[in-house]
Amino acid sequence: MAQADAASLGGAPITAMVTADGVPLKKSLAKAERRRKITAFLLVAPLLAFIIFTFVIPIGSMLFRSVDNPIIVQVLPRTVDALQEWDGQDIPPESAFAAMAEDLVEAQANRTVGRVAVRLNYEMSGARSLLTATARRADDLAAPFQESLVDANPRWGDTEIWAAIQREGRRFTPAYFVSAIDMRYASDGSIERQPENQRIYVTLFIRTLMLSVAITLTTLLLGYPIAYLLATLPLRYSNLLMICVLLPFWTSLLVRTTAWIVLLQQQGVLNDILVALGIIGDNGRIMMVYNAAGTIIAMTHILLPFMVLPLYSVMKGIPPSYVRAARSLGANPWTAFWKVYVPQTMPGVGAGAVLVFIISIGYYITPALVGGQSGQMISNLIAFHMQNSLNWGLAAALGTILLAGVLILYWVYNRIVGVDNVKLG
């Protein structure tokens, strides 16, 4: 590749560089690079496809499901139409009752009434039986429909059910997010807090955060000295120790969790030993599992390698001469450690903390097994709504809030520590 002679001659305007045969250099370079780029893309393509199908699409669908609200529009289209002009104060007009009667007949025939009944039940307790029972006798309804419906069930005479249908008669709804933060719609349509005995999710979010912070701190506290030892011991011993650290990775999660139950329960090994030693009385056996303590202990054990490995890899790269230099400059062992060694391990601390925190914030199985009541985390509630109550919209809303929370924390972390400072290995 040579610069065109004309361009390099004094006084001539500098034109684009060209190769020896006159093709612009940029074009020629792009051509040469294209093949390499295609190869690189083909190499990552399988993983890219895999990630799109297993991660991007599910997450997208979860985000969508948290606001998706098709049922009422589909099953009660006439009622939704008729309620458009309703002011929400008085009993809706006769046209709305008529539309409802018609919708119910059709829903009963199409067997779709159950779905809309379940959906409305999320908004108003008792709505399910109200709809299903009335729908069963929908063929008996006759004009004037208001009287006929109220006859069938007096609750049709209240505005509550109509308000719920009007509010949720839209394709997309914020209702799941409203309930996910312990709020509800008041009868006048405004948003208010749930009565105190029905607030669960905010408390659980906070508890999930606290437990994750506690687990992150304990893993850091326990992992730091181990990682230090691993990084400084001769290879022969450090390999053995590394196996001990990795052992939790190599055993089944269930086996480990069960082992913790055996150890920690009130009739378990640890309590037996304490009683036998006379440290506690037989009546004073300590509750160490089926509560928050159980969750913290078991999850610390499980997540410890995620803290130790990044710490180890960072510490391995710190030559001993730094601490030696600090010592020779007059720092006592503690100052040399704290002012010179620890700051250099911060990338590892950051990586380990982010890993452990993000894994633990969404952890499900261990809290479910050893968490009892006080050790439940938000993911257990999400699982409950996925599997038992089948309120997928609420589960999706809770999941979305969790995801948003993690992203916000990640952003804050990036602002304070800097993601570039994270070293994962």
């Binding site: 001469s321 030696r324 230099a325 010592r327 400059l329 720092a331 006592n332 100052t335 700051p343």
Partner: protein, 368 residues
């Protein structure tokens, strides 16, 4: 380099006495080391890797403990003094500048741990940076400096708290040749202007020769020779030192005859050489003759030198200031002669026979 004897009363500023060191309880890395270092001296520990020189330095700094023997600093035993209370500055091979601190913070570190006042710290940091000619770099991070600049900061940091003794562990090993030579002079000048005692470890003989008052040549855990640079080069005590310092022609033979001033050595090919007995047993003992290539004279006047031989020129390498000539003589074809590139030098060509000779004093009979 005679100024060392002037400081003789200060000898024992640093003293190693019968120091032995073993890491595994089987092999002695340092065998019975005795070494006195004078105040203000620049002493270099020179030797191949694994010779025990760095171990000695680490024992002096306090990062390794002596297995046996004692180490004294200013006449006080320091075996049980932890490194941070020894007050010894140290420059490490990889500089060990703290990567998370700026240059100024690095320099302030030893002052801060000594709880100095803020104004005094600032003042000293400023002066230290001026000493190494980097006053504008105070706010930079070490990673933003070039290798030579990092090296200077490391030297400044080891000196900023005004220690009496500074240890340097191959501090120039990572620099390229030109920069290394420049830094050698700078460190030497800093040493001269501050009067601080320096113990310097290197495996580079030219570095040792350039900078030191005295050089301790280490091999196999033992000091082979402790002498000023000129002595070391011109009067090596044994075959290891002769071979390790500078280029050296080796001739092996047996002592045939010996009187006080000279000896006659019969080489393996039967030729006989008159040499200066330095480190030989008696008659009949094997010996290695050491002869510097620049001391060999080409075409000497007849009868002017006791040793004169016919040599065949095998190879000529032009090196600018001299021509390195390999000849075969006295049963070896690895004999090197340095012919200075002067107007009067002999013009010789490959395959030619030339007459070479050397003086008795330049040919030292050492241990076999």
């Amino acid at each position: 380099m005679t100024n060392v004897s002037a400081a003789a009363d200060d000898y024992g500023f640093v003293r190693f006495a019968n120091v032995q060191k073993s890491y595994d309880g089987e092999i002695l890395v340092v065998k019975d080391l005795n070494l006195d270092i004078a105040k203000g001296e620049f002493l270099t520990m020179l030797g191949p890797s694994g010779s025990g020189k760095t171990t000695c330095l680490m024992m002096l700094a306090g990062f390794e403990s002596a297995t046996y023997g004692e180490i004294r600093l200013k006449n006080e035993r320091i075996d049980n003094v932890p490194p941070h209370k020894r007050g010894i500055g140290m420059v490490f091979q990889n500089y060990a500048l703290f990567p998370h601190m700026t240059v100024a913070e690095n320099l302030a570190f030893p002052l801060r741990v000594r709880k100095m006042g803020k104004a005094e710290i600032e003042d000293r940091v400023k002066r230290a940076l001026e000493m190494v000619e980097l006053p504008a770099m105070a706010g930079r991070m070490p990673a933003q400096l070039s290798g030579g600049q990092q090296q200077r900061v490391a030297v400044a940091r080891a000196l900023v708290f005004e220690p009496d003794l500074v240890l340097m562990d191959e501090p120039l090993g990572a620099l390229d040749k030109n920069l290394r030579e420049q830094m050698q002079y700078e460190i030497k000048h800093i040493h001269e202007s501050l009067g601080v005692t320096v113990v310097y470890v290197t495996h580079d003989q030219s570095e040792a020769l350039t900078m030191s008052n005295r050089i301790a040549v280490f091999n196999d855990g033992v000091i082979q020779q402790l002498a000023p640079p000129a002595d070391l080069y011109e009067r090596p005590d044994n075959a290891f030192v002769a071979a390790f310092i500078g280029e050296n022609n080796k001739l092996k033979g047996k002592v045939e005859q010996m009187d006080g001033q000279s000896c006659t050595v019969r080489l393996e090919d039967g030729s006989s050489v008159v040499a200066l007995p330095v480190n030989v047993g008696g008659k009949g003992e094997p010996t290695t003759l050491s002869l510097r290539p620049e001391r060999v004279v080409v075409a000497p006047a007849e009868g002017s030198l006791p040793n004169a031989f016919e040599a065949r020129v095998e190879e000529l390498i032009y090196l600018g200031d001299h021509i390195r000539t390999r000849v075969s003589v006295c049963g070896t074809d690895e004999f090197i002669v340095k012919i200075p590139n002067a107007q009067s030098h002999a013009r010789i060509s490959r395959g030619e026979m030339v007459r070479i000779g050397w003086a008795m004093e330049d040919c030292r009979a050492l241990d076999a």
